[in-house]
Symmetry: D2
Subunit: 352 residues, 4 copies
């Protein structure tokens, strides 16, 4: 049941691209009141100066509220802060009873040794790990709805997970899947750097963090928990390509038992049939453009000649792979909200 | 006053990019039922096979209905047909009392000599010209609301008109404005051709139809009627650039009387203050990206050192410069529809 | 020893991108006289009308010479014709004693069953297969120098081969390597099609011919012959991305015996040390842009945690992956030519 | 007459894109020895780490030589330093008798008031202005050959000048030409900034420095000196577009006396007939891609219906609009050098 009451939300770290997408969605949601869009450096600056798609549609300005303001005036807190800083800021808000959705990687891993290894630091709030829910609705919908702390998945991790989840849930995965995933430049965020400098990005493709990307452990954790504990790791090669939005993940995985391609197709269709935002496409290839700007993902499974699973997934790294998925989690969490697919989340993107 | 009744609409020529945008908007409009999305060549094909953003959200397929089906089953007809063919198909539907919005150039020009000169053919239905309304809400809102036949403006023409309208409406324009306008590749439509072949488009810029583009006469007609009959023509250079969506028009125009830049800014702000979809931006430059995928336009006026008007306008050629503006006209025409800015038309675009 | 005599060459099928690159290289080569640039459809058209980089630098026009003209007036024949047509046209020229470099796939495969399977037709000239030399200088330099018929490798195949050759040559490869390779749009050629239509290409990425690309068998053949007969196939996923020129291939391959990453690095450096056009890069990632427009390739090997080989190769699909490599073969074949690295082949590309 | 002696050159500020292009050209020039490629911040770093097209082809590293080293060991000095710093560093080298080519704007303007106005500072070496030669070979070839200090023109200025020079030289220009010019992202240099951040650049177009670009005064000065002293200024709107290399300038200018389009075409062809690097194209439009990576420019003149001159020019901002033109000047200056069109300067670019 929904009410006329609005959820009062804060978006912490609202100047980045994740924050901008949260603003776009929340400002158009009749059930949401954005109380704070926070920024330390740009407090006082109208949000439309940074997120220029918002020009003329909101008087909101960035602010730097106190912890007390946040706890008193808000129901939901979105964190769009850097790893490390995120747990430090969000921890006390969880303690204070706020319901929190964290877009950073801080609360995704259950194993603190893994966190230390991949994020290069001690976790500041290991006490909150047990209650944090990994915010992938396609595996944790019920838990998300009741969570007080949701760890919204990484962009690459979402694409890899969606590519492999149906098989993982049947206990089919084993060994070390090999994944190559291509990403648009918005994945690097709003801060300028050489790898997103137009002259060197626009006509090139380049792998980076080869076999070392920090999204690997959350994938392995998720796929194991989903039903494939035999999974032994993941060899992941991220590649930067010159699109703005979009990830395409191409995964090859050993299967425990022989399976036909038809069985794979049926498995995927059945698994995603109930998921509004994940489309199993079997008569064309998944594309980045057909879902750009939206919360949709496209998945296509195949069987290789050697009997392995070959799966492709596309999504928008900032929406289904980021802020959109976090906002989808909020929709599941809020009793005020109707069906998670209602506008603005379920809006269609443009073509071309 | 709006009702619960849905407007029954047909989209003629629905396989192109204009048709696709109309589908995107209409399928998400709770007041609209898309009865027909027509195509002669692709009748029977699901719309999602062509407009891949629609995958999984509609069972609609292209059809090739008879004139009688259109007149019996539809209230509103959108035409997204080629010039020439459009008037031939839409004419009988207007005769039959349907309310028609034509995205082609067929009913934009009042002077049949001009039509012959720029479109290279005799007009098939000159009898309908007098009652056709040029579908630019920023000059013709009241007339559009009552029109039975709306000629939706060209993409370049919309950008040029919006850049110059406030000055034109004050009778300020004289001589021949000089305009350079850059366009994205979607303006060339869905049909492949050499100028939109990625290898020759993606890293180049090239002028075309220099001083010969067919949108010139509709601009001159509109700006004269708006209040500047002294206008003597328009020197227009279109340039193709490697973006998908977007037009940026840069216009320089002689003014009849001296004016300060402050006066120009006030004039533009006042003129567009009441127009939800046109934003006067004075502290940054208009951009293509901030309005991509939306019905918004951005305009910035200046005064040159020699006292001329310099104005820049950006918009999305397929939305405000095409299907979105046509759909905006429909919203004005339909008694069923609430405020023209309601979703899905007023939705915000993404950034970046 | 070189002489002052010029080699007289013909480029058959010179209107495409491969033909254009051959023209660019040959017209700047003081040892080459381009006698014929052939085209059936465009005979009489100056080459600069099609290859606009040649504007003003040559009076050459496309022609449609007879077989006799070709045999009488030319020493070397470059074939840039479609598969199938190529063998039919080139066969008689080989018979006539001309030295031929074929950019098509017609003479690459030794096994005619494989040819039938992947190219969907009977081979028109199986009698020439035995003497055809696969034009990869990094494995066949000596044979190329003496060949009368060179089958220039495919673009993807070159990237995959260069990624794996050092390991293959040591007999290390086994099983079915998994390869994902990304390609620029020029790989699709000069003929417009939907997949290279700018509006749907410029902001997307899409796999195609998944596990079915016709370059697979020439890779398997080459890598087996190079020293790894245990190779059992290749799972290859091509992906189209929005760059104009460039391929990046990412390969993962099982190794017969344990090896350290240091050994792999040494192996690759040693193997490519003598190859001017292949650079082993160990302290950065291979890029498409750093070699765009040139005959260079960049390769980087790694060892995965599970002990497999991970190798990345980048090259320009039209140069090292196409016409440049074919021209490199010609340089090896001609007694008139100095060192294969001399201009124009060894010219540096631009950055960025 | 040329000798076997090599010119010893230094490139000051060699880490930027201008410096990189000078390195590419000089390292391939058999008559040039690059003695120093200077950088204060990156001294000791191999040039190939920054300019990755140079990987493996040179052992050169950036250094930070003393003034004495430069004067003792070099014949020619290329300056690729920022405005202001450039004159301070180059001045003493000119004093020491070195022949200097400055890519910065410091020595382009003859009027020190103009310099102060557009560059916002006092000129550090006004005493050198009189002897500095504006390095546009199409107007100053003889003077360049004898110069000790050449001020290489700005990228936009070169495009605008080449568009208007033939008319200017006949005394035809009057009033204030209106110019819109589009530029690729490499024009912003190697330093990352928001306007070249791929996510906000790749699908947008945006004007900047509207009517305020610092290249205006050097155009006005050049065109007046060329023969049109009646020129009263220039209204220039630069627009950033998402290509890497290339400028397209579109200029409209009043003419003192009536002229036919045929006369304009003849005038341009005659003027540029003797200029190897400037092509008058009359049967197609100038393009950015056909000259990318090269020192060529393309120009097309027209007459507007109102009798004005309409001219389009394209060039590569880093080559003909930057380092290539500076290097062309060096070729004119050096008695060691053959024809300025010899390799590597006259090399053809790729297509597409």
């Amino acid at each position: 049941m929904t009410t006329n009451r609005k959820d009062r939300v804060a978006i912490l770290g609202a100047t980045g691209y994740g924050g901008g997408e949260l603003l776009r969605l929340c400002l158009q949601d009749p059930k949401v009141e954005v109380v704070f869009a926070t920024s330390r450096n740009r407090a006082g600056v109208p949000v439309e100066k940074v997120h220029r798609n918002l020009t003329g549609v909101s008087n909101l300005a960035f602010t730097d509220p106190t912890h007390e303001q946040l706890t008193v005036e808000c129901d939901f807190i979105f964190g769009a802060l850097p790893h490390g800083a995120s747990a430090e800021v969000l921890g006390p808000l969880v303690d204070a009873g706020k319901r929190v959705i964290d877009l950073s990687g801080d609360f995704r891993l259950k194993d603190m040794d893994e966190y230390r290894k991949w994020y290069g630091r001690e976790h500041p709030r290991p006490d909150l790990i047990a209650s944090a829910v990994y915010g992938c609705p396609e595996v944790n919908r019920q838990a998300i709805a009741k969570a007080r702390l949701v760890a919204s998945p990484g962009c690459f991790a979402t694409a890899i997970n969606l590519a492999l989840l149906p098989a993982a849930s049947e206990g089919m995965l084993t060994g070390r899947p090999s994944v190559v995933a291509l990403t648009g430049s918005s994945g690097a965020g709003a801060t300028v750097r050489e790898t997103t400098h137009h002259p060197v990005r626009a006509e090139s493709a380049r792998a980076y963090k080869v076999l070392e990307h920090q999204h690997v452990p959350e994938c392995v954790q998720t796929l194991r928990e989903a039903g494939s504990p035999a999974l032994d790791g993941l060899d992941f090669t991220p590649v930067s390509i010159p699109i703005i939005r979009g990830i395409i993940a191409i995964a090859t995985a050993k299967l425990r038992d022989p399976v036909t391609e038809l069985q794979l197709r049926d498995l995927y269709e059945l698994y995603y049939n109930k998921e509004y935002f994940v489309k199993t496409v079997l008569d064309r290839e998944p594309e980045c453009q057909s879902i750009a700007g939206t919360n949709f993902a496209e998945v296509r499974p195949r069987r290789t000649p050697a009997g392995e699973l070959h799966a492709i997934c596309t999504l928008d790294n900032l929406v289904k792979g980021g802020a959109g998925q976090g906002y989808q989690c909020y929709r599941l969490m809020s009793p005020n909200q109707p069906d998670e697919t209602a506008p603005p989340l379920g809006w269609l993107g443009t073509w071309p």
